[in-house]
């Protein structure tokens, strides 16, 4: 698809992006509610709890942080655990970088702040010429939901009950599985996924939280060696060069 054909002709194939982003934002928001509740229960003021969702914006790390606080641990231990959980974003960031526009520094920093599992997965699962739009829209939708829900939970207390009773803890792996599907069409992608699963499962019982997913990145390195295939290197049919967005 040439860059010029981007704006018109989209009506023929309805863009599912909004639905995808909203589905993830809804699931994330349910967790934002419980994060707000837990954070205030762990001793953060509602304002600090809400601001933490703005400035950290990494759900698992925030849960880890308030979990340590609630258990009476040192806040510094909690921060270290949260940072470890976020190590995967270093890898995601470099995987996304070639596709992101080299705009002014503040714009690149903002793109970095929007680097979360949901935005990365939605961006890379779609067509390459939509990648930047998908990444930013998903990041913003999830971010708005996350912060608003944190505030609701922190100021309003328990509104939803236990998200687990609604099965929302399974919403995330279900969503990530759907977003993983395009890679499973190539042999190399399947090998990488299987290796990632094996590494993560082997390490989960023995390594600190966050490390198994980071170590799973090795699965991609090994897959390149054991399953070289030139034709299906990329899940996207058109291997477009990264493209500046307006």
């Amino acid at each position: 698809m040439s860059p010029l054909s981007r704006t018109p002709r989209d009506g023929s194939r309805r863009d599912p992006l909004l639905g995808e982003a909203l589905a993830l934002a809804a699931a994330v928001s349910a967790y934002g509610l419980s994060y707000g509740v837990l954070a205030t229960a762990a001793g953060l003021s509602p304002l600090v709890a809400t601001l933490s969702s703005v400035v950290v914006f990494a759900g698992s790390a925030q849960f880890a942080f308030v979990g340590v606080l609630a258990a009476g641990g040192s806040p510094l231990t909690g921060a270290l655990g949260g940072v470890l959980l976020n190590l995967r974003y270093l890898a995601f960031g470099f995987a996304m970088a070639p596709h992101l526009p080299r705009g002014p520094l503040p714009r690149r920093m903002l793109d970095g702040h929007l680097m979360i599992d949901e935005s990365v997965a939605l961006a890379l699962a779609g067509p390459r010429d939509q990648l930047v739009r998908r990444f930013r829209l998903a990041g913003l939708a999830v971010g708005v939901g996350w912060v608003a829900a944190t505030a609701l939970g922190a100021y309003g207390g328990q509104l939803l009950g236990d998200p687990r009773a609604l099965g929302l803890d399974a919403a995330f792996p279900a969503g990530f599985l759907a977003l993983l599907a395009p890679w499973l069409r190539s042999r190399q992608g399947r090998v990488a996924a299987v290796l990632g699963v094996g590494i993560a499962l082997a390490l989960t019982p023995v390594a600190p939280p966050g490390i198994p997913v980071v170590a799973a990145a090795l699965g991609a390195v090994i897959a390149l060696r054991v399953a070289p295939d030139r034709e299906h290197r990329d899940p996207d049919p058109a291997d477009d060069p990264p493209q500046e967005t307006p």
Binding site: A79, M109, G112, G167, A171, L180, G196
Partner: protein, 104 residues
């Protein structure tokens, strides 16, 4: 409270550095071919790892609970090419039903 705020600040800064290092340093730059090939394949390995750790992980260990049933249902939905929101809904809904039934 002060120590908590300092720790929260460190978490925010640490998270931001990790998240923004790629875009700030390398946005729009072509990575060397080998690095690029790995980067293209990274999401497959790491998304798969996220799927299993979020399905089976609990308190630093592995458990089989209602989530695995929800994920199985979601996998069927994916195989049937269900739209994304439906996949998420099936995963959550089936898990909730299994829990309602008293398991996991």
């Amino acid at each position: 409270m002060t120590l908590t705020l300092v720790a929260l600040g460190l978490l925010a800064v640490g998270s931001f550095v990790l998240k923004a290092a790629g875009p700030v340093a390398a946005a729009g730059r072509q990575l060397p071919p080998r690095v690029r090939a790995v980067a293209e394949l990274l999401p497959a390995a790491m998304l798969a790892a996220l799927v299993v750790t979020q399905t089976l992980g609990a308190d630093g260990g592995l458990v089989l609970d209602a989530r695995i049933v929800g994920l199985g249902a979601a996998a069927i939905a994916v195989a049937l090419r269900a739209p994304f929101p439906l996949v998420v809904l099936v995963g959550a809904g089936v898990t909730a039903l299994v829990r309602l039934g008293g398991w996991g």
